[in-house]
């Protein structure tokens, strides 16, 4: 490559630092290449200004990438979080019910949050104090 001024070492280091915050390797490679390509042909001062902007918005870029998951990832990774209602999470008031496992054992667990009661054979209180 000749004729066009390439990024100065400081700018290269800044780009490497800016993309380091990105979660996925593919994103780091993409934005490293994209930022580097945009630095070509610019004077050193402009490169430093440009890289300063990349660094200052590194976490905004990370958030933007996190907000837009790839369709593949979205379908392959269903959410595993269990919605906990306020009464379970804060007041520890669970709504226990008796469930059976596949091998026939019984256990009590909250119908809303899944919290298992330590006493299996105790009385079952519909809106009992967990």
């Amino acid at each position: 490559m000749t004729g066009v001024r390439g990024p100065i070492p400081g700018a290269r280091f800044g780009v490497a630092l800016a993309v380091r915050t990105l979660p996925r390797r593919a994103d780091r490679q993409r934005f490293s290449a994209e930022y580097m390509a945009e630095l070509y042909g610019q004077p050193p001062g402009a490169q430093i200004r440009q890289v300063t902007g990349f660094l200052s918005k590194a976490f905004a870029l990370r958030a933007a990438l996190g907000a837009a998951p790839s369709p593949l990832e979205g379908s392959a990774m269903p959410t595993t979080s269990v919605p906990h209602r306020f009464r379970c999470r804060v007041l520890r008031h669970h709504h226990y019910r008796v469930y059976s496992t596949g091998d026939g054992n019984r256990y009590r667990a909250c119908a809303f949050c899944g919290h298992e009661s330590p006493g299996i054979r105790g009385p079952i209180v519909p809106f009992g104090m967990g």
């Binding site: 490559m1 800016a18 993409r30 290449a33 390509a37 300063t52 990349f54 918005k57 870029l61």
Partner: protein, 102 residues
Amino acid sequence: MTIPTQLVLEVLLAEPERERYGLEIGDAAELRSGTVHPILVRLEGVGWLQSRWEDIDPRAEGRPPRRYYRLTADGARAAQAALARAHRPSLARRLRPQLGET
């Protein structure tokens, strides 16, 4: 919609068929460097933009390929509608008497 996002969309809508790279969009929108790429990623994530690597011979050009962005057809329509909504004055402003009116 944030003001920088509106500025980016206005630049892209000025010539919807034209592909531009990040720095070019930022310069046209008069935004600071680094501000543009998170906006482009979000717009691409919702399907308003598509991007591709420039198809060049790096040895011949003397530089690596750039990432080019352009509005999709759906994105152009959605962006126009969104900008129209953003530029529409609020109900309170429309009802408020303007200077010079009686």
